[in-house]
């Protein structure tokens, strides 16, 4: 069970890392964005659109939403102090949560899983959905890695993240790369949301707690390291469950999980898999 929820933490963590890598900001609204796009998918399904078609449409919508938010909102505070962007992402979080509650109401919605419950690969310990979800996360990770490593666009995005000024000089359209980053992150979030909803039930506060763990996972894995995020996600999921079951009981399991993460960070301040960057005066 911890493994399965871990893959959701990992998926959302990957989205967080993606935005951080491209913009050096943590997007606290990532979870709510994921929840909102999952509601888009739910609306499509309710209108009768078949699952995979609505999945694809939702990803497209998520991309547009993410890129759109960057262009309309984030771009305007690009040159502001770091904390201003933090508050903007908090504002987005609150706004998306409120909008979802207003438009879609608060009753929980069951959400279908594309992995049939009685599929051949389901076992009593790992349901078919949990296994499928883990595979989807790993596949997404592979795709993201391939994108950054082997495509020109990915290269351009990496360059933008490392050195925006030089990238501009070389002719890379930095602003577009940033918007692309937001769009892709939103897509990853949507995937996480659509994988999570069948297990957790879709409702406006679905992703709140998941964001906390995803944030922890992203940082634990090293906020700049895309590989670290999903791995850390699994670790967080497992630790959370073990802590609750065997160590301290459920009353402070969240606390314990976070404390463990913080302790790890103290000993490895750039994350378990992160690299210490050398800064010059």
């Amino acid at each position: 069970m911890g493994f399965a929820t871990g893959s959701i933490y990992g998926g959302l963590a990957l989205a967080l890392v993606l935005i951080f890598k491209s913009t050096h900001h943590v997007n606290l609204a990532q979870g709510e964005l994921a929840m909102f796009t999952t509601y888009v998918s739910w609306s499509l399904l309710r209108a009768g659109v078949p699952y995979w078609a609505s999945f694809a449409l939702t990803l497209a919508a998520a991309f547009l939403l993410g890129a759109g938010i960057h262009v309309l909102v984030v771009r305007r505070v690009q040159h502001a102090p770091v904390l201003t962007t933090v508050i903007v992402s908090i504002g987005l979080l609150i706004a998306l949560n409120g909008l979802a509650g207003w438009i879609f109401q608060y009753t929980i919605r069951p959400f279908p899983s594309p992995f049939r419950a009685d599929a051949w690969y389901g076992t009593s310990h790992f349901s078919s959905h949990e296994l499928g979800m883990t595979l989807v996360t790993l596949a997404t990770l592979a795709l993201v890695y391939a994108f950054f490593r082997y495509t020109r666009l990915g290269l351009a995005m990496r360059a933008t993240a490392i050195n925006p000024e030089s990238s501009l000089l070389v002719g890379i359209r930095v602003d577009d790369m940033l918007a692309l980053g937001w769009g892709l992150a939103a897509v990853l979030g949507a995937v996480a949301g659509m994988m999570a909803a069948p297990i957790f039930y879709l409702e406006p506060n679905m992703m709140g707690g998941i964001l906390v763990y995803a944030l922890a996972a992203a940082l634990l894995g090293g906020i700049e390291n895309p590989w670290g995020a999903p791995l850390a996600g699994f670790a967080v999921g497992i630790v959370e469950n073990l802590a609750g079951a065997y160590l301290v009981g459920t009353q402070i399991k969240l606390t314990v999980a976070l404390v463990i993460i913080v302790v790890v960070l103290i000993f490895r301040p750039a994350g378990a898999f992160g690299r210490r960057t050398v800064a010059r005066v």
Binding site: I87, I90, G98, Y106, T107, P204, G209, L215, A245
Partner: protein
């Protein structure tokens, strides 16, 4: 130059001090709250603004200061004037202890560590082991400091506290200004902007940074202490991560690394929710989020940053806008924010005129509990319906329902406003144990009925000490006693597990089971597992409970978690005797999402009809309810049980008001509320009725057990009188 500034300061101090005598106690509360936040924000700004260490966890220090003070006072160890500084010292030490390991962390990593602190704090405060100190989920009450006999009756406790806070603000701001304008401030700023260069110049990084943490914690801790004295009641869930986020919002809106910007930020935190509640009552959260974003786009360096830029004669750093537009936007924003303070003309009678009955209410329309806002919407719609039919005794019911975000300090503020500015007749159906606890004393002292509180905690039937406060729904504890009794009688050798929400709602079920099982509780209840509302899922708790070998399960969970539990219990092949809290037995909102076949056999103590239950399809009351929903709440989700609850409790209120006849004094309203005899709300289960008397403040003390058969809940057995 300095002399005129000094004179100005002195004059404004005198003005501020005397202000306490001229404003209503509602505005005084707001002012004092504003001062408290100003100190808290100064603390955070020292750390995050000047020292550059992001803290998403200052709510924890605020809460720590509050709890330290409450404990010192509750145990009688210290009087208030020593308790508050001592709480500050406690926070200083804890802040330093936290600051030391935090030295290793930078930027987002530090933010996460402080975030972890914010999340951990309510959990630790609620823990069983600390319950005897912290009061656990029930919280702690604080006495307002009693004023010295200086000005006789003129110096009320409220005004005295206001003066104390004013003095504290003065003291802290003088210290703060000295810090930031002196060597320390320069060192901190150097450390923030160029840490390596600063270290190379000989600035002791470790000392300055951890001291910054310690001092910042001290400031915010004292603010928390004063805030606790102001509200009079604290509970663990008053200090969630949202408190920390509010503080962060405050300092950024006011202006990072600005001393006076904190006042603007504090005003924003106090006033913005109220204003937004008036602008948009449909989605105040969405409005608040949008306002934040707009604010940051317009004023990226906060108000202080914009002011500085204007004073220096150039447009502030932002995208293409002229300085004039800037100035006007700035001024109009401030004016709009300040306008929340305006008084309206006062009326004659307390809430009653020839044409209307004014009813006051707060609801969590924003924030983590906003799902319950549906209750307020249902009540508002019900009263609209009654008004359309002519009202009660020729008078229309005017429900004034304000947002409190489920935050007790906000509830206190809004209730004071309702009583003093809007002059309502009484308070009706406020949601939540903590919010109601915070206002109980105030309302009882003023003789204002606090009717039909929307929580099932058992403490609302204390007619001896709080005769103006009354509950409505069956108490959770009584419900759990009914389950315990059933187990005793029908399954005496049961092994019981309990899944419960880690707050007063969930824990009341444990207490009720203890009541019913008595000494055999320890051996019968094999294992309990709790969850937080921020947990994504309870699946792992269910798996653990099954592993302990129980054959009986009591689940005290809200709808989402209840549905998860029902589904998981079935999916892992567990078939216990499963009791479910009647909060989560709605067929549309819980049983169907879980999968109707998975909930077969679930037992609950129902008291209301479920419109989603096929057995009630043709029931006249349910048909009427559907018609009401279609006409007055067409866009609402009828599967949401809150709309049934709101309808039923509003119907009860109308009964009380009708019973009042022409005498709508507060005394008579209370008298009629305590004289309900055999009243059957139309949506109550057949056979159940409400009864109250001056010594029985439990309107709904009956329920009937029902078992889910895959389609509906079949009632069985007799109507049970929980006591």
């Amino acid at each position: 130059m300095t002399r005129s500034v000094g004179l100005l300061l002195f004059a404004s101090l005198i003005a501020a001090g005397s202000l306490g005598f001229f404003v209503s106690s509602y505005h005084l509360f707001q002012l004092t709250q504003f001062l408290v936040y100003a100190i808290a924000l100064l603390g955070l700004n020292l750390l995050t603004g000047y020292s550059g260490q992001i803290s998403l966890g200052h709510g924890a220090f605020y809460g720590l200061g509050a709890y330290a003070t409450a404990i010192f006072l509750a145990r009688g160890w210290l009087p208030y004037w020593a308790a508050v500084p001592s709480a500050g010292v406690v926070c200083l030490v804890v802040g330093f202890a936290f600051g030391l390991p935090a030295l290793r962390l930078e930027g987002p990593y530090l933010a996460l560590a402080t975030f972890a602190l914010a999340i951990a704090t309510p959990q630790i405060l609620k823990h069983d082991r600390l319950e005897s100190w912290t009061g656990g989920v029930q919280g702690l009450y604080l006495e307002k400091p009693s004023p010295p006999h200086l000005l006789g009756e003129w110096l009320t406790a409220d005004r005295w506290l206001y003066w104390l806070c004013l003095a504290s603000v003065l003291a802290f701001y003088i210290v703060g200004l000295n810090l930031v304008r002196g060597r320390t401030g320069r060192a901190l700023v150097a450390l923030r902007d160029h840490p390596i260069a600063a270290a190379a110049m000989g600035i002791d990084v470790a000392r300055y940074r951890s001291s910054a943490f310690a001092v910042s914690a001290l400031f915010t801790g004292v603010a928390g202490a004063l805030g606790a004295l102001l509200t009079g009641f604290i509970s663990p869930d008053s200090f969630t991560v949202f408190t920390s986020i509010d503080f962060l919002v405050g300092i950024v809106v006011g202006g990072i690394a600005s001393v006076f910007g904190n006042f603007v930020g504090a005003a924003f935190i106090v006033l913005a929710p109220n204003l937004l509640g008036e602008i948009s009552d449909a989605a105040p959260s969405a409005a608040y989020g949008l306002v934040l974003i707009l604010f940051m786009i317009l004023f990226p360096s906060g108000i202080a940053g914009a002011w500085r830029a204007l004073a220096a004669g150039r447009p502030p750093k932002s995208t293409r806008s002229k300085a004039m537009t800037r100035r006007t936007t700035l001024m109009s924003t401030l004016i709009v924010l300040a306008s929340g303070c305006q008084k309206t003309a006062s009326h004659d009678a307390p809430g009653i005129t020839a044409t209307e009955i004014r009813v006051g209410q707060t609801m969590p329309y924003s924030g983590p509990a906003s799902a319950y806002g549906a209750i307020g919407k249902a009540s508002a719609a019900y009263f609209r319906m009654i008004n359309d039919q002519g009202g009660v005794g020729g008078r229309k019911i005017n429900l004034i329902s304000l947002d409190d975000g489920y935050s007790p300090p906000k509830t206190v503020e809004q209730i004071r406003r309702l009583v003093e500015k809007d002059e309502v007749a009484f308070i009706f159906n406020v949601v939540g144990t903590a919010p109601n606890s915070a206002i109980q004393k105030y309302l009882n002292e003023k003789g204002i009925p606090q009717l039909f509180v929307a929580t099932g905690a058992d403490k609302w039937s204390d007619y001896k000490n709080f005769r103006w406060t009354m509950s409505w729904q069956p108490s959770y504890r009584v419900e759990a006693r009914v389950y315990g009794k059933y187990i005793n009688e029908n399954k005496p050798d049961a092994h019981i597990c309990v899944l419960y929400q880690n707050d007063d709602f969930g824990k009341d079920y444990l207490l009720g089971l203890q009541d019913a099982l008595g000494p055999s509780y320890a051996e019968k209840v094999r294992k309990t597992a709790s969850y937080e509302t921020t947990d994504p899922s309870v699946d792992s708790q269910v798996v653990d409970l099954k592993a302990s070998g129980c054959d009986t399960l009591v689940t005290a969970a809200t709808p989402k978690f209840a549905a998860q539990a029902i589904r998981k219990v079935h999916d892992i092949g567990w078939t216990p005797l499963h009791f479910m809290t009647n909060v989560s037995i709605s067929i549309g909102a819980v049983m169907q999402p879980a999968g109707p076949e998975k909930g077969v056999g679930i037992v609950s103590g129902a008291y209301l009809k479920d419109p989603g239950d096929p057995a009630f399809q043709n029931d006249p009351a349910v048909v009427q309810w559907h018609g009401f929903m279609q006409k007055y709440l067409p866009s609402a989700d009828a599967a949401d049980g809150n709309y049934v609850y709101g309808y039923a409790v509003s119907e009860t209120l109308v009964q009380v008001l009708t019973q009042c006849g022409s005498d709508l004094s507060r005394e008579n309203i209370l008298r009629q509320a305590t004289s309900l005899r055999g009243f059957k709300p139309s949506l109550a289960l057949p056979g159940l009725e409400l009864n109250t008397s001056p010594t029985d403040y439990r309107p709904f003390s009956q329920m009937q057990l029902a078992r889910f058969n895959g389609r509906n809940f079949e009632r069985f057995g007799p109507v049970i009188n929980g006591e």
